[in-house]
Every structure is written in C-alpha cells, then in structure tokens.
C-alpha cells in the first residue's frame, strides 16, 4: 500500500502553479474579459459603410467602453486573486474542446495566475488609456470607428495570448495580435510605405511563428500534450537535447514578436502606423509577448543551460543594437522604437538569467509599458501639434508651448534613464545586478547600455523640447486637447510610481508560484551597483548635453558622419542584409522557378504531346492522295501475306 502515499507526496511536491483549480465564482468572468472587446470589435468592423453615420459618431465610445469593461473585470479578478493564498492563485477555465483528434487534445482553456493577472492589468489598463487618447488623436480620421474596432481586436487577441492555458491557444492569440498589428500598422493603407511596413511586420513575425509552431509540434511529439500544465509535468522526462530544441524554437518565436535580433527589422518600419498603435502594440504590450513567452515557459528553460544562454545573448545583442539605432535616428518615433528594442533586450536578458531574473524581466516589462507608452503618446501629442512632423531636427523649444506634454514626457524620460526614485531606476538596476551575478561581461555590457540609454533619451529631450526652434514655416505648435493629455498624466504618474511594485520584494513574491525565485550572490553590496549605474547614466546625460544642448542642432541631418552614425541611421544594415541574403535570392528563386515551371515541368508535358504530334505529322505524309500508290501498298501487302503463307506451307 505504498502507491497512494507516493501519489500524495507527488502532489505535495508539485509547484503550486502546476495544479490550477477550476474557475468558479467571479473567475468565470475570465472568458468574458476576452469576449467583450471581441464582440465590440466585430460590431465596429462589420458595421462598415455609408449607412452607419450614428455608429461613426458613437463607435469610438463603444470601443473605449469595451476596453474599460475588460479593465474593470481585470481589477476585480486581481483583487480576488490577491485575497487568496499564494498556493491557490492559479485558476483554470476550460471553455470547450477545441481540437480533439486521437492523442491530440487541445481545449480552449484559460489560465489565470499571478503572471497573467499582471499582464491583464497592463494590457487593459494601458489599453484603455490609449483608447481614450485615440478619441482625440484620430478625431479627424474618417475611418476612426474601424480604428477602434481593430484596437479592440488587439485587446481581445492580446488577452487570449496572456490568458491561454495551452500553447496552441497562446498561438491563437499570438497570431491574433499579429493580425491586429498588421491591420493597424497598415491603417493608413493609402500610404504605400504603411502597407509595405504592415506586410513586412507580418511576414517577419511569421518567420518567428515557424519557431513557435515547431515548438508546439515538438511538444506534442515528445510529450503528447501542449497545455502548460501538461508540458510542465512532462518536461523532466525528455532529453536535454529536446529541451534545448524547445527553448531555441520558442526563442525564435519570441524574437519575431519582440523584435529581437535577428528578426528586429520590422519594428522600426512599424512606426508607419498611427502613434497610439505604436504606443500600445509596438511599445507597451505586444512586443513584450516574447518576454512573456520565455517567462511562461520557465519550466522548459530550467532544463537547458544552452537555450538560456542563447536568450541572454539575443537580449544583450538587441539591447546594444537598439540603443545604437536609438542614438542615430532623427525621426522621433524611430528613436523611441530603437529604445523599445533595447529595453526589451533588457527584459530578454533578464528572462535568460532564469529564476533569478524572471520576476525582474516582468517588472521591467511593466514599468517599461508605463513609461514607453507615456513617451510614445507624448511624441504623438507633439506630432499632433506640429502637423504630423516626425523629424526631431524640425522641433525644438516646444517645452513652453506644450507644457503638459513636456511635463509628462519628462516623467517618462526620467523613468527610462533610471533617475533614482523613478520606476526605471528600480527595474533596470535589478536586471543589471542579476546580470553581474551571472557573468561580469554581461553585467558590464548591460550597464553600458544604461549609459547609452541616458545619452539618446537626453538627445531626444533636448532636440524636441529644449534647444532652439527649428520649425518649418507655417507650423503652429499647440497643446493637445484634454482627451489626449489626461491619459498622459495618468501614465506619467504610473511611470513615477511603478517602481514601488518592487518594495518589500512584492513583485518577486507575487510571481514566485509561477516562475520560482532565486536570490543571487553579489560580490559587492547592491548600493554600489546603484551608484555605479547612476554615475554611468549621469555621464550619458552629460555627453548628450555637451553634444546637443550647448551647440545648435542643425535642422537637416549632417551628411558627413562617422560610420557608427551611418550604420545606426540605416538600422545597422539589417534591411540591407535581409535584402541581400533573403529577398534578392528569393526573388531570383521565384523567377527561376517560374521559368523552370514553364520550360522544365510544363515543357516536359508539352514535349510529350509535341512528340506525339510530330510523329503523327510525319506518318501522315504517307497519305499522298495518289490512288496508284495506295493500290501499290495494297498489292505489296497482299504479296507479303502470300509469301508468308507460302513460306509456312512449304516449310
């Protein structure tokens, strides 16, 4: 009678997150949270056409209300979850059997646990603010209602992604946000550049999706399940090679969605979309999905040192590449996009450090969501006032004309450079500390990245809000309406206060049931790092001030620049490499194949038919039309028959 005891032990030893309880009570609202924006989106998009004037006037309100409703549900669920014991904070809602074929059993399941709870709040919270902001920003766009429909679709898909209880359901949300991103980047479809950028984003993401899809197949082949719980339970039985393959494939997917090197090239182009989209999708939420994926799959990365190292390397490379690009760009949105890449690099780096870093990756993800959304919306507010000008060299001295935008932007600025007391200070410091604990060189590179961040953000601040006015003629900068500045204020407050999540170790305690947690051993006290990093940041600020603050900024970009700047301006030649390695050979391959298909494959078919045709036209020459030759043939035939008969008879 030992078996029952073993069983009991096994359940006790299993981590808490692996034993989710079925949804009951208020938690049945998990699916409703997704459904509300989805239905609203369908209403807003389907009600298209000239007969829907009323919908055009009120549609944005429906969209905002749907997002707000999800946020309210999210808050209610979060509070309920807070009230539970740490061991019970994992709720599973199984809606219906999605795909059941033989051993392949995928249910439409949602998993609501501390990790997804935080994401839900971030997505719906920031999402709602950006809905409100968009009411003002998109006011004059004739297709504003559809814009809100797409935004709602995004919210629904992103919630599906973070609430999924199964990798395939996650994939559903994963591609859903890809679709929403495609629709929103290309929202101004009449612009060729926007349409091309949208397609590029989707296709590059698809490359990453191959990784995710293969990872799911590998899970099914090796473990017979694709649910988080099932994979977490079974992962110990697979070989380390399989675990590494899984880790690398998931990383490929994460690279696509989170614009990490080598799949980074779409993010800068994605800035063609309306600015609220850049803020919501390409800064605060969707691009961090890769980090979510890695953190969510912590049980897979636990067993594979190699894949974790790959995550660290990818994060580190992107961190530096993004910062580099951010330094060189004059387009305010692209500078911010480079910064986003770089900051997600920090998160990836932290996620690659294992349990020591997961909590801080998520922490930085949240604070970044606040301050980057804040700054993107601020940039949008600037553009709104400057007739959609994006070139920072045509800004300057806007601080006095746009005091609210400037003030809120400054909060975001201080947060991102890690000014002591602001949210970024806490979150970035923790990551750099953890990096030092892992490997000194990684730590040094991450710390240097912080200095560069300070440089390019200061540059952006100076060129936009301070320095001399270099506006184009007939530019009339003005402060944006309250419907746009109100979200800015809220986000600015969040940028300042977001860091308090870490006080008392709350964030790591909260996430421990999901990700586990390890403290790291540091050679020197933590305050030394804080001081060191702050000094680096100060140096970065000072260099930027010396370069841009004390001298006049030219209103056109200087041509004679160093290789470093030129490379940064051209996105470190990422597009050039893609062009040379993939697109041009691919183009030639399709052309070559088209010729091969016409001449080779179809040629063979036509050769057969042509051969038959040629043979018959040769043979029909025998039909001369002369009766005499026909009769000669008849006589010849008769003769042959006669000879044959004789030969047989005589023999």
């Amino acid at each position: 009678m030992t078996a029952p005891t073993d069983l009991l032990l096994a359940t006790e030893q299993a981590p808490d997150a692996l034993a989710p309880v079925a949804a009951s009570g208020v938690f049945v609202l998990i699916a409703v949270m997704i459904l509300v924006p989805l239905v609203s989106s369908a209403l807003l998009v389907l009600g298209d056409g000239p007969r829907f004037d009323l919908a055009d006037k009120r549609g944005h309100l429906l969209g905002t209300a749907a997002s707000l409703a999800s946020f309210v549900i999210g808050v209610v669920l979060f509070v309920t979850l807070l009230g539970r014991d740490a061991g019970d904070r994992s709720i599973e809602q199984n809606l219906f059997a999605w795909i059941h074929v033989g051993g392949f059993q995928v249910d439409m399941t949602f998993l609501y646990d501390p990790l997804s709870a935080l994401f839900v709040l971030l997505i719906t919270g920031v999402g709602t603010l950006i809905h409100v902001y968009s009411i003002g920003y998109m006011e004059h766009d004739p297709r504003r209602r559809r814009f809100f429909g797409f935004l709602n679709l995004f919210i629904a898909a992103m919630l599906t992604l973070v609430l999924a209880g199964d990798y395939l359901v996650l994939f559903l949300g994963w591609e859903g946000v890809g679709l929403a991103s495609y629709l929103l980047i290309g929202f101004w479809q009449h612009k060729q550049s926007a349409a091309v950028a949208a397609k590029k984003a989707f296709v590059v993401n698809r490359v990453g999706d191959v990784g995710l899809a293969l990872a799911i197949m590998l899970m099914f082949a090796q473990l017979g399940t694709t649910s988080f719980v099932g994979v977490a339970e079974g992962i110990e039985q697979v070989s380390s090679g399989t675990a590494t393959a899984l880790g690398l494939l998931l990383l490929l997917g994460a690279c696509g969605k989170s614009a990490q090197v080598p799949l980074q090239s779409w993010l800068l182009d994605a800035m063609e979309g309306p600015t609220p989209v850049s803020a919501l999708i390409h800064a605060a939420t969707m691009v961090t999905a890769g980090v979510y994926l890695v953190v969510r799959s912590n049980f897979i990365y636990e067993g594979t040192e190699a894949a974790r190292t790959a995550v660290v390397v990818v994060g580190l490379v992107t961190l530096i590449a993004g910062a580099w690009i951010g330094c060189a760009k004059d387009d305010i949105k692209k500078a911010l996009a480079g910064s986003t890449m770089s900051q997600i690099g920090y998160m990836m780096l932290a996620a690659g450090l294992g349990p020591a870093g997961y909590a801080y990756a998520i922490f930085h993800l949240i604070t970044h969501g606040f301050f980057k959304a804040n700054m993107f919306l601020g940039a949008g507010s600037v553009m709104h006032g400057m007739d959609d000008e994006v070139d920072m060299r045509r800004y300057g001295g806007l601080a006095r004309l746009m005091p609210l935008t400037f003030g809120t932007f400054a909060m975001g600025y201080l947060a991102i450079i890690g000014f002591p007391g602001f949210s970024g200070f806490f979150s970035k410091d923790r990551i750099i500390e953890a990096a030092f604990a892992e490997n000194v060189f990684v730590g040094i590179a991450a710390a240097l990245g912080a200095g560069v961040t300070a440089f390019y953000m200061t540059r952006l601040m100076i060129m936009t809000f301070l320095s001399s006015r270099r506006w184009k003629e007939n530019a009339h900068p003005h402060e944006s309406p309250a419907v746009m500045t109100a979200p800015l204020v809220v986000l600015a407050v969040a940028s300042v206060l977001g860091g308090f999540l870490v006080l008392g170790g709350w964030i790591s305690d909260w996430l421990t049931p999901v990700t586990g947690y390890e403290t790291h051993e540091l050679a020197v006290p933590a305050w030394v790092f804080s001081v060191g990093i702050t000094v680096l940041v100060a140096i970065g600020v000072a260099v930027a001030w010396a370069t841009y603050g004390r001298r006049d900024v030219p209103s056109t970009a200087p041509e004679k620049v160093s290789f470093v700047t030129r490379a940064g301006r051209r996105d470190l030649y990422g597009d050039a490499v893609n062009e040379a390695v993939l697109m041009r050979p691919g183009d030639q391959a399709t052309r070559g194949l088209a010729v091969f298909d016409r001449i080779g494959v179809d040629g063979a078919v036509r050769a057969v038919t042509g051969g038959i045709g040629a043979t018959s036209s040769l043979l029909r020459r025998a039909q001369t039309g002369f009766v005499r030759s026909y009769s000669l043939t008849i006589f010849g035939g008769a003769l042959i028959v006669l000879v044959a008969v004789l030969a047989v008879n005589l023999a």
Binding site: W98, V101, G102, M108, H190, K199, G234
Partner: protein, 512 residues
C-alpha cells in the same frame, strides 16, 4: 450495414442531374428562369444532404445508408453507394459550394458560347457526378463517375471561359484523361486479381480484403495514384491547373479546384489506402517528398505570379501538398487533418476565387500590376479578400489553421524533416497572400481603378456562407472532426499503422 427503405443517396445524387436535364429542356430565352431553377435545384440538393446528414450515425465507422444493385454481373460490377464520415464531409462541402457558385456566377454564363441555361445545367450535372463519386462504394462505378466529371467541366471551361479557354480546356481534358487511362488499366488489373481469387467483384468491401502479390499491389497502386495525383494535383503533374484556372470563369474554377480536385485526394484516402495498404506504406516516402516539394514549389511560384487566378491555382498546389502530406504521414492527426483540410480548402479557395472574380470582372484585368488602392473604393470587397487570404495562409482562428496544424503536428511525429520543411510553407503563404493584397488593395488609388465599385447584395450573399463557416469552424471544428475521425481510424487500422507514442509515455512505460 444499415439498410434503408428510401434510397436517399441515389435521390441525392440524381437531384442535381435532374435539375441539369430540366434546365436543358427549358425554352430558350428564359435566362432568369433558368438561373432560378438552377439555384432551386442546388438548394434542394443541399436540403437533401442535410436530411442525409441527419440520418448519419456518428459512432459508426463503416458505410451507412448503403444501396447495392447488380450492374454488370459478369464483371462483378455493382451500382453501390454508401456514406462514411469522409464522404459526408465532402458531400456537404459540394452541396454548400454549388448554390454559392451558382449565385456568384449569376451573370457569368451570359457571354458564353452556349446559353446561360446550359452553363448552369453543366454545373448541376457536375455536382451530381461529383456527389456520386464521393458516395460510390464500387470501384468501377467510381471510375466511371471519376471520368464522367471531366465532361461537364470541359464544356464549362471551353464554352464560358476567357482568353485561351479552348486550349486550356483541351489540356485539362487530355491530361486528366491520360491519368484516367492509367487508372483504367489498374481497374482492369483489379478485375483480374479479383476473379483469380474467386468470383470477380468490384465492391470496395470485397476488394479491401483481397490478397495480392507485393508487386501486383504496387503496380495497381501506382495506376490509381497517378490518376489521383494528376487530379489533386501533385508536383510535377500540376501544370494543367494554372492554365485552366486562368481561362475558366471564377465559378468553374471553384468547382474545379474545390470539388473536382478533391476527388483526387479523396481517392487517395479511400482507394489507395483502402485497397493497397502495403503499397501505400511502401510509396509513402516518395509521396511525402513530392508533397513537401509541392508545398514549397507552389508557394514560391505563387509569390512570383502576376495573374491573380494563376496565383490562386499555385496556392492550391501548395495546399494540396499539405493534404497529400497528411494522408501519407499515416497518423490520426495528420490524416484527420488532411480530410478536414479538403473541406476547409474548399471553402477558403472558393472565397478567394469568387471575390477575386468579382474584382477582375469590375476592372477587366487579372494582372496584379493593373491594380492599386482598390480598398478605398471597395472596402467590403477588400475586407472579404483579406479574410479569404488570411484563411488561405492559415491564420489561427480561421478554419484552415486547424487542419494545417493537425497535418503538421501529425507529420512531425512521423517525419520531423518533412514537417519542418512543410512548416516553412507558412512563411511563404504569408508572403504570397499579403503581397497580392498589398499590390491590389493598398497604396494610393490608381486613376484607372476609380470606377471599381464595391460588392453588391447578391455577391455579399454568395460569400457570406463561406465567411461564416471559415470563422465558425476555426473556433469550433470539433463537430466536423467527430464526423471524420471514425473513418480515418478505420482506414489507418486497415493500413496497419499506429500513431507514434510520445517519448515521455515511452519513458514512463520503460521505467515501469
């Protein structure tokens, strides 16, 4: 076998053919009446299909509602019909698509060589023959119907298509007849084998248990497979399809690619695997290789194609590659996925052909280079084109994703290499669809596209069923999977393969 007093399947198969005859007898010059009659008969067929589906027992794996009458007793030929899950799926698809096509092609038959009444008559006859092919449980009867379907389509392409329709129709006919000829030899061979074993019989149930020599079986398999591979079409036997799709009217293209070509993949699943299980296993590495080549090759050619209709034809080559890959990977998931793929591909390709057909009719050109910015003047058309395109690139949440993922996941357990290469196809799919959408719909509105109008009520009505099904079955595919799976289980059991077990359970069993 579950007998039934009413010969439902015969009634079902005859209904559209009777409709075709009625149309042919209608007085000339009553074009509108002819169209209404055609729509009525296709609707009646759909109702009959629903009646049949309601009687279908989901738990049964064998043939249901069977009918059997001797036809040519000397050769063991029967008129035998029966319905299983796979057949029901395709019958439902055909019955849904035909009224949709008739509604969408309302005016396409007007400018043809013959009257529009005969255009719709041929369509109904084609539907009836295809339904018969999906229901036939006698190999000879199937062969006759398989070949007979070529006739209506030959006239549909040759009589009502666009430029170069004559030669395209001829190429289609001769190419497929050639495949049929090879199959005929194999059908005769089956008779020989069957009569040697005792009394000759073409009944599927008799032939399935037939013992034959290894090489006899392989040769007969090749004979059937070549015909099906031309029809499906599998690389390198695909070159008739783009030309035929380019010349045919959109409605004919739908019937050709969505319905007629499915008889090929359907035949592989029912006859190749059913009659020649060992030979199917023997050939599977080659077939899988060709299928993967089809996937990549079709996608690459679609990327480089400028003619919208040829582009869709090449995407179908790629999709048929997935279906054939799934069938010959022999796992529950892949084969079920392949059967589901047949249904979903029918829907998504029909939507693509029809919506681009509306576009081409408005602009008068099928060249992508002639378009640009159409989204601005025809947003509904653009939206439906995008949705159809997204379903073609297997976006999760739309029905083709379920089938494609099942095929890939199932194949992965059998042949990882094939699955990895096939998965690359999803990147190429994104490229060919989005490039086409970008070049036609987005960007600044070109001056010569300004007169393009948005979809009208009839056109939206014809596309709506597909849109609803694509989204609905993407989120809830289980009803169809439940219909298909018993058939697939029985087939795979007959072939004698079992799914590879996940490694983790193997390890567990090993440790016990």
């Amino acid at each position: 076998m579950r007998g039934s007093d009413v010969p439902w399947l015969t009634i079902l198969g005859l209904a559209p053919i009777v409709g075709g005859v009625v149309l042919a007898l209608l007085p000339r010059g009553r074009a509108l009446l002819a169209k209404q009659v055609a729509l009525g008969f296709s609707g009646l067929t759909l109702v009959l299909v629903l009646v049949v589906a309601a009687q279908f027992d989901l738990d049964g794996s064998g043939y249901q509602l069977t009918e059997q009458v001797d036809w040519i007793a000397a050769f063991g030929v029967h008129y035998a019909l029966g319905m299983n899950g796979l057949g029901l799926t395709l019958v439902v698809m055909t019955a849904i698509l035909t009224p949709v096509v008739i509604l969408a092609s309302w005016e396409d038959g007007d400018g043809g060589r013959w009257s529009s009444a005969s255009f719709f008559a041929w369509m109904l006859v084609l539907e009836g023959l295809a339904l018969g092919a999906f229901m036939a449980t006698d190999v000879f009867l199937f062969y006759v119907l398989f070949e007979a379907t070529l006739i209506p389509l030959y006239f549909l392409i040759g009589g009502y298509g666009g430029l170069g329709r004559q030669s395209a129709a001829l190429k289609f006919l001769v190419y497929n007849l050639l495949g049929g000829l090879v199959m005929l030899a194999a059908v005769v061979g089956l008779y020989v084998v069957s009569s040697r074993a005792g009394s000759p019989s073409y009944l599927l149930s008799d032939l399935m248990d037939l013992e034959m020599g290894t090489w006899t079986e392989r040769l007969l398999f090749i004979g059937f497979m070549v015909a099906f591979a031309i029809k499906a079409p599998l690389w390198p036997l695909h070159t008739w399809l783009p030309g035929a799709a380019k010349a045919a009217t959109p409605g004919s293209s739908v019937l050709m690619v969505s319905v007629l070509d499915k008889i090929g993949t359907f035949g592989m699943l029912r006859f190749c695997l059913g009659l020649f299980p060992e030979a199917s296993q023997w050939a599977s590495p080659v077939v899988i290789t060709l299928a993967v080549i089809s996937i990549i090759y079709g996608a690459l050619l679609a990327i480089g194609e400028d003619d919208i209709r040829r582009l869709i034809a090449y995407t179908s080559v790629s999709h048929f590659g997935f279906i054939i890959l799934g069938i010959f990977a022999f796992t529950t998931q892949s084969t079920t996925g392949a059967a589901l793929y047949m249904f979903n591909h029918g829907l998504s390709t029909a939507a693509l052909f029809l919506v681009t057909g509306f576009l081409i009719a408005r602009r008068g050109s099928a060249s992508i280079a002639d378009y640009g910015g159409v989204q601005k003047v025809a947003p509904v058309l653009a939206g439906i084109l995008l949705l159809a395109g997204l379903s073609s690139l297997s976006l999760p949440g739309l029905s083709p994703f379920v089938s494609e993922f099942l095929v890939l996941a199932g194949t992965f357990t059998r042949s990882t290499v094939a699955a990895v290469f096939a998965t690359l196809g999803i990147v190429l799919a994104a490229l060919y669809i989005l490039l086409m959408y970008q070049r036609t719909m987005t960007g600044p509105l070109r001056e010569d596209n300004r007169h393009v109008t948005d979809l009208r009520g009839r056109e939206i009505a014809s596309l709506a069923p597909m849109v609803v099904l694509i989204i609905g079955l993407g989120l809830y595919p289980q009803p169809l999977l439940n219909v298909i799976q018993p058939t697939v289980d029985a087939t795979l059991q007959h072939v004698g393969v079992t799914d590879p077990a996940p490694v983790s359970t193997e390890a567990e069993e090993g440790s016990r």
